[in-house]
Symmetry: C2
Subunit: 479 residues, 2 copies
C-alpha cells in the first residue's frame, strides 16, 4: 500500500499527480498527452455527468451526437475560430487506405459542424429554439500536458443552442452559467466566482464569454466552465437563417457552453490533502465505506458481515442509490483497509469490530476532519445523513474561507506584481485595458484577467491605464 | 407533415431511410459515411445504453475510458487483428501543426490499447479478474455507408476483461452473450439466435466469436452483438502476464464484447411498418403520448390539459420515470398530431377530447395493431400498463413467428441457392467447411454462415463436403 504522497507544501505539482496515482483516477496513455481514465476516475465522471445531464434536461435540453471528424474548411469559415483552434488540431489525412481529398480535423469543439447541421434543420421561427447538448470526446493537441487539466483528448459536454432573438440567446447563456454555478457549489462543493471574460480571454468566435472561476489550494485560478454568447457570428458563417413571424429572413442567435473532465482536477485541487483524495459526499460514487473487522471467521460470517450489509442496505435506501461499499478485503491488514478508502477520498468510513458489536455502536470516521464518533446502531441512517451534509458544508466553507483569505486588491501594476509574486491568490482591480494590455500584464506578472464578476455593478478607474468606467476584474495565475 | 414513406414492398432500402427521416432519428454528416444522431435517435440510444449499462454493472463490470488515438504499431502486434482492421482505419498524421513521428489510428476497436494498459496494471492473480467496459465512438471507414448499419463512425460499448484461467474467461464470454440475448429479447423485443461464428466469420484475433443473430423484416440477417473469447492471443501480443498462486508467471486469458448504434437499425427493421417507426415499449423514450384535443380554449385550459397532466403524472409514477409526453402542439391539426407520434413510433397514444371528457373515458390507440379502446378514467394506469405489456409481447411474437415462418433447411448447395434466391430467410444446414469453402458459398449464393446455434447439440453430415460431425449452421444474406 503506497502511502508516499509528496506533501503539497513540498511540490504541489507532484502532490497532484500522486493523488491521481494513489486514488487510481487516471494513467498515462501510450500516445503522448492523452490519458486513460481508470474505473475510479470514470465513476466520478459518471457522477458528475449525471448531475449536469439531469439539470440540462430539466431546463429543456436534449442530447444528440455529431461526428468527431470535421472538414478543415469548416473551421476556416469563422476567422477568429480557425485562428484559435487550428494550431491545436489533430488532422486525419488518410482513411480506408487512401489519401483524403480534404483533410479532416478531430473536433476541438463542435460549433462549426453543428452550425452546418442547424442551417439544414432551421427554416422557420417555429423550429426555434433548438436546445441541444452533446457528451463527447474532443481533441486539442497539448505541448505541456497535465492529467485532467490539459490533455490532448478530454471528455466534455458542449451545449449548442439557436434562438430567434438576441435577448433569448443571452438569457440562455446566463441560464446555463447559473446551472454550472449551482452544481459546482451545491454538488461539487467548489466555490466559484461567476463573471464575464475580458476581450483577450474570450472563446474564439464569441461575442461574450462567461465563466465560473475557482481558486485551487495553491491559490491559482482554474476556469471550471464557460458559457458563450456567440451573437450571429456562427449563424452568418454557416448561414443559419430562419423566416420570422413577419415572413422575413433573419440570422439566428446562438450560444455554446461546456464543462469537461477538468472538473476532476478542480475537485482534487480544491479539497484533497496530503493523505489522498477528498471527495464531497454529493458527487462521491462511494459516500460511505463500511468495514467489518475481525480475525475471527465465524464472528465475521455470522455477526459482523450481516450487520454491515444491513447498514449498507438501509443507507443506500436513504441515499437513493448504491452509494455504500462493504469492504471485504480481508486479506489486507485493517490499517491498510482504512487507508485504502482514505486515499480514494470516501467521505465517511464506518468501522465495525467485535468491541463495537458488543457496545451496539459503529465507529464513524470523517474523511474531511478525521474526527471519530461512535453511533448507536439504531441511529446509523439519520446520523450518517447529518454527517454527510455536514461534510459537504465543511468542505465548501473551508474552500470559500481559503479563497476569501487569499483575495487582495491592487491599484497599481507594481502592487499586482508584488501580490502575485509574494502571496499568490486572486487580485481585484478595476481594469479597462485592451487584449494587448492584458498580454503586457501577463508578461510582467504571470497573471491573467480571470473574469469581471457579475455581482459587481460598480465601476472605477483602470489601475493600468487610468481610464474611467473600468469594471472590477480579478487577476491571478491560472491553470 | 411528410407522410410519404416508400412502402417496404416497393423498395426496402428506401423505406428504411424514409423511416429514419420521418422519425428524425439521424441525418447525414458533412463527412461522407458519418452520421449525425438527432435528438429523437439519441434518446433511443440513451435508453438502450441504460439497459445494457445497468446489466453490466449488475454483473460486476465497471466503466473506464481509453484514448481514441492508437499508435499504428499497436495494431501490428496481433497479425490477424492488423489484417482485419488496418484497411478500414482513419489515420492521423499531423497534430499541433507538426508531422507526427508515428501515425495514429482513430480506434476501430480497443483491444490493443487496452491490452497495453492491462500489461501495466496486472501483476498478480490478486489483480484479476479485470472487468472493464467502455462507452465510446469508434471509426471504421466504410465504402458503402448506411445510416446506423454501416457508418464510418459509430457509438458502441466494448467490454474488455482479463482472467486467470481459460475456464473463467470462457464463462465470462458466454455470460455477456446471455446478457445481450436477454436485453435484446426482453427489452428490444427482437428475437435472436445465439450461436458460435464459423472460422471465416470470427473477430480478427479471437479464438471463438459468439453472436446474437436477428432476422430483419426483409428476411436478411443482422448481427446484433458479439462476444469474443480471445484466449491468450492478445495477452501474448501485449505481454499481459501475472504471477499465479504458485508464484509462476502466466499469460492472462481475455475476452471482449460489444453492441453498437446498429441496434437502432435492428429495431427499425424488426418492428416498423409503412406508416413509420414502431418502438417496443420497454425501450421507447416516450411510451405514451397524451393528446388533449379541442378548439375551445377554455375547455382546453380548464379541463382537458389538467386531466392530461394528471394522467401523465400517474403514468410516469407507475412507469418509474418520465416516459409520457403531453402533446401541446395546438397549432397542428389533430390528424397531424396523431401522425406525428405514429411516425415516431410511440407505442400507445391516449386521445382526450370533449366527448371523451363527457363520457369519462380516454381513447387509447395502439401503435402496433392500430386497435382502439375507450378506457374509463379510473382504469387508466392499470389498463395502460397491461396494454404496454401486451404490445411488447405482440411485437416479440410477431417477429419470432416471422422468423420461424422464414427459416428453411437445405441439404445441398443447390437447395441453399434456390432458397436464398427465391424465398430469402434463414437456411439451416449441417456444415463443416473451411473459410475458403464459406467464401465459395458466398460467391455462389450471396449467403454467409451466420452462426452455429448453441442450443443445437446434434451433429450431422456437412451439406457441402460430406464430412461427418458437422454442426448445425444457419446461412443467410446479411447486413
Amino acid at each position: 500500500m503506497a502511502r508516499n504522497i509528496t506533501p503539497k507544501e513540498t511540490d504541489y505539482s507532484q502532490w497532484y499527480l500522486d493523488i491521481i496515482k494513489v486514488a487510481e483516477l487516471a494513467d498515462y496513455a501510450p500516445v503522448r498527452g492523452c490519458m486513460v481514465i481508470r474505473p475510479t476516475g470514470y465513476s466520478l465522471w459518471e457522477s458528475i455527468q449525471k448531475h449536469f445531464d439531469d439539470a440540462f434536461k430539466e431546463t429543456g435540453h436534449v442530447n444528440a451526437y455529431f461526428p468527431v471528424l470535421i472538414p478543415n474548411s469548416f473551421l476556416e469559415k469563422e476567422a477568429e475560430h480557425v485562428e484559435g483552434f487550428s494550431p491545436e488540431c489533430a488532422v486525419v489525412t488518410h482513411a480506408g487506405g487512401e489519401l483524403l481529398e480534404e483533410p479532416l480535423v478531430v473536433r476541438p469543439t463542435s460549433e462549426t459542424v453543428i452550425g452546418h447541421m442547424y442551417s439544414k434543420w432551421i427554416q422557420s421561427w417555429r423550429d426555434l429554439p433548438i436546445l441541444i447538448n452533446q457528451w463527447a470526446n474532443v481533441m486539442r493537441w497539448e505541448k505541456r500536458p497535465r492529467l485532467f487539466l490539459r490533455t490532448s483528448e478530454f471528455l466534455w459536454q458542449e451545449g449548442h443552442t439557436a434562438h430567434a432573438t438576441e435577448e433569448e440567446a443571452m438569457e440562455e447563456t446566463l441560464k446555463m452559467l447559473e446551472v454550472y454555478r449551482r452544481i459546482m457549489t451545491e454538488i461539487l462543493a467548489i466555490p466559484v466566482i461567476v463573471g464575464e471574460k475580458t476581450a483577450g480571454e474570450r472563446f474564439p468566435g464569441a461575442v461574450n464569454t462567461y465563466t465560473c472561476e475557482a481558486m485551487m489550494s495553491d491559490k491559482k485560478a482554474l476556469q471550471a466552465g464557460t458559457s458563450h454568447f456567440l451573437g450571429q457570428n456562427f449563424s452568418r458563417a454557416f448561414d443559419i437563417q430562419f423566416q420570422n413571424q413577419k415572413g422575413e429572413q433573419e440570422y439566428a442567435w446562438t450560444t455554446s457552453w461546456g464543462v469537461s473532465t477538468r472538473l476532476i482536477g478542480a475537485l482534487i485541487m480544491t479539497h484533497s490533502d496530503n493523505d489522498g483524495l477528498i471527495l464531497p459526499p454529493r458527487v462521491a460514487p462511494v459516500q460511505v465505506a463500511i468495514l467489518p473487522i475481525s480475525t475471527n471467521d465465524s464472528v465475521m460470517e455470522e455477526q459482523l458481515l450481516p450487520r454491515a450489509l444491513e447498514f449498507s442496505d438501509k443507507l443506500d435506501q436513504m441515499l437513493g442509490g448504491r452509494f455504500t461499499f462493504v469492504d471485504k478485503q480481508f486479506h489486507m491488514r485493517p490499517g491498510d483497509r482504512f487507508f485504502y478508502h482514505l486515499q480514494k477520498g470516501v467521505p465517511l468510513r464506518l468501522e465495525l469490530g467485535e468491541k463495537d458489536l458488543a457496545a451496539g455502536t459503529v465507529r464513524a470516521v470523517r474523511r474531511d476532519t478525521g474526527s471519530k464518533e461512535d453511533i448507536p446502531f439504531e441511529n446509523v441512517p439519520l446520523r450518517v445523513k447529518a454527517l454527510l451534509e455536514d461534510i459537504h458544508k465543511n468542505l465548501y466553507t473551508r474552500a470559500l474561507d481559503f479563497r476569501i483569505a487569499n483575495t487582495f486588491s491592487a491599484s497599481t501594476l507594481e502592487e499586482l506584481k508584488v501580490i502575485v509574486e509574494e502571496k499568490g491568490g486572486f487580485v481585484e482591480t478595476y481594469f479597462a485595458g485592451t487584449p494587448e494590455e492584458e498580454k503586457k500584464i501577463r508578461e510582467e506578472t504571470g497573471a491573467t484577467p480571470r473574469c469581471m464578476p457579475l455581482n459587481d455593478t460598480c465601476t472605477g478607474t483602470c489601475f493600468l491605464t487610468g481610464k474611467p468606467h473600468a469594471r472590477k476584474t480579478i487577476f491571478a495565475k491560472a491553470y
